[in-house]
Symmetry: C2
Subunit: 102 residues, 2 copies
């Protein structure tokens, strides 16, 4: 009905992807499952709270899937969901466009 003032459907997703650390988390998750403390160590300057929120929101948006791994040290892993995987192309496009800036 109203194509202008109704919140763009892409907005929520955009917000989820643009929060602090989220692009990095996403990118790391495209390589291999990510883990909380590992992120805390790898992402210098990141803090627990923000990472926890970022991971929770990305799980809520079904970009990441949270699962407990029943192995040796018993831990939690976050892996890219199918929806998450279909966002890889978006990142590729965005990164290509960023290169052009110099």
């Amino acid at each position: 009905m109203n194509t202008s003032s109704e919140p763009c459907p892409a907005q929520k997703l955009l917000k989820i992807l643009s929060g602090k650390w989220k692009p990095q988390i996403f990118k790391m998750a495209t390589h291999k499952p990510v883990r909380f403390n590992q992120l805390l160590r790898d992402l210098e300057g990141a803090n627990k709270q923000t990472l926890a929120t970022a991971l929770r929101e990305m799980v809520e948006e079904d970009i990441l899937i949270k699962e407990t791994v029943q192995e040796k040290p018993l831990h939690i892993e976050y892996t890219l969901s199918e929806k998450g995987k279909s966002l890889i192309g978006v990142f590729v496009t965005l990164e290509k466009l960023s290169e052009g800036d110099a």
Copy 2:
């Protein structure tokens, strides 16, 4: 060298696209050039300051181009730049993925 903690190149662009009203402005600009007061009227709840900032930042990022139209009422138009046009696909993808949520 460091693929993990260095800020993702897509992040800046993502931030630009995800600010308040920006997705809507972008979308409206894909249909026809947008204007300040027109946005203020169409986007219910939007305020001058935020719109002005959004437009300025989108121009700075070369997503929109600002130009004065030397016509009848003499006004300013914001049109999609080439870079902006190449982002349309990103929005299409994002919207498709949002539909799936229901």
